[in-house]
Subunit: 218 residues, 2 copies
DNA sequence: AGTTTACTAAACTGAGCAGTAAGATTTTGC
DNA sequence: GCAAAATCTTACTGCTCAGTTTAGTAAACT
């Protein structure tokens, strides 16, 4: 049984199929290394259709980059009850997105083409890292008001949290696509990062570190 | 007045000139986006000569990547007297290398081509980050023996030091080549990173933080 | 001086690629 | 069922590029 779709739905679906396929091909071979024929083949679409939907290779590329950036970081609801478990679950939510092979490929692509397409690098920075950073900052400020954390500069504190948790495994994954850290390896960095963050920023480090230990051994 | 050079010297010089020019062109346009004609032009060399020195585009590319990796990280002599100033000067030595536009371009290129040339990504990781990491680890272990630091896992501590100091400005620079953080911005992250590191890892955090403050206000 | 070596300039080969055109075929709206 | 829209296949244009060939030149060695 085949679902009957309206024209506009099919069109939208095809558009999305092209975007998905193009992202995959671009990710593997880079902008210059990717041919429109390869994209057409991967999307199971003819080349003229490709050009009907997106006027040129550049336009297609930019469309991918600007469409992908929004969906990537919707995960965000830092506000249950316990700060330690909030931070822990945020860390994993974020790690799960950022360390996906597909997401890493996109990041590699953006870094690769940052020189040729400066607008894309900037758009990504604003829509991705900067937005996440603001989210973390807001949360940290809130916990500072609650008397749970202490710091002068919220941006620096947020950067530190990010860096402690994900810098090491992400850098490794960027350089070695065939050796992306497994969940256990990520957990090692992530848990350590949380510990160090709490040690440096908590108003009651001992208590929070114990809470973290309890959380991890559960 | 022209210096008279031996044939072998000239050859070596030309080889180096080609490598330098090729690195620059590759860095700007990526592997697929760079033509051998462009390299020949930049190196002020004819195309057949290019092929005489390096058999193919791939071989030239690999030669660049594997030749550049050694010179990039020679700066290393962590062992004066005071731990705080050791860490501070190490941080700046390293930051000065890593944040150079030329070095960032190379990093972008390596990340970009990691999928197509896995060996290069791995070689870079081993010769660069991993070597630096071992250096930091050795130093931290030494300071642990001296009773100045406390930690269980030296690798995690070293990763944290690196991440706290350079993760934020470097990531920003990778995404936005035209907005590489200036020295003042780097100093902000770097000094904060040292503070957090000492707070989390020093056996006498208060004393070391004061020492750092004194060092910075000098 | 004469031979060798290291180049150079220029043109060429064969392949791949961005983008377009033409006509055949399918899908959709009514 | 039929006309219109969307898409397909196929083939083409003009360009760029990796790598090679040829014929000639200038310096280096002996």
């Amino acid at each position: 049984m085949k679902a009957i779709l309206k024209r506009s739905d099919k069109k939208e679906a095809k558009r999305q199929r092209i975007l998905d396929a193009a992202l995959e091909v671009f990710s593997e071979a880079g902008y210059a290394g990717t041919s429109m024929d390869a994209i057409a083949l991967a999307a199971d679409v003819s080349k003229p259709t490709l050009y009907m939907y997106f006027g040129s290779k550049e336009q297609l590329f930019e469309a991918i980059m600007l469409s992908g950036r929004d969906e990537m970081l919707e995960t965000f609801d830092l506000s249950s009850a316990d700060m330690v478990s909030d931070l822990h679950s945020f860390a994993w939510n974020y790690a799960d997105v950022v360390m996906k092979p597909q997401f890493l490929s996109l990041a590699r692509l953006i870094i690769a083409e940052a020189q040729r397409f400066p607008s894309i690098g900037k758009a990504y920075q604003e829509a991705g890292p900067d937005r996440v950073l603001r989210g973390i900052m807001d949360y940290l400020e809130q916990q500072k008001k609650n008397g749970r954390l202490t710091f002068d500069d919220a941006e620096l504190a947020a950067q530190d949290l990010w860096a402690l948790i994900l810098s090491a495994p992400r850098n490794q994954a960027l350089h070695m696509p065939d050796k992306i850290p497994k969940r256990a390896a990520i957990a090692r960095y992530l848990n350590n990062g949380l510990k160090v963050f709490l040690k440096a920023y908590s108003t009651k480090p001992k208590k929070d570190l114990e809470a973290l230990d309890r959380l991890l051994n559960k």
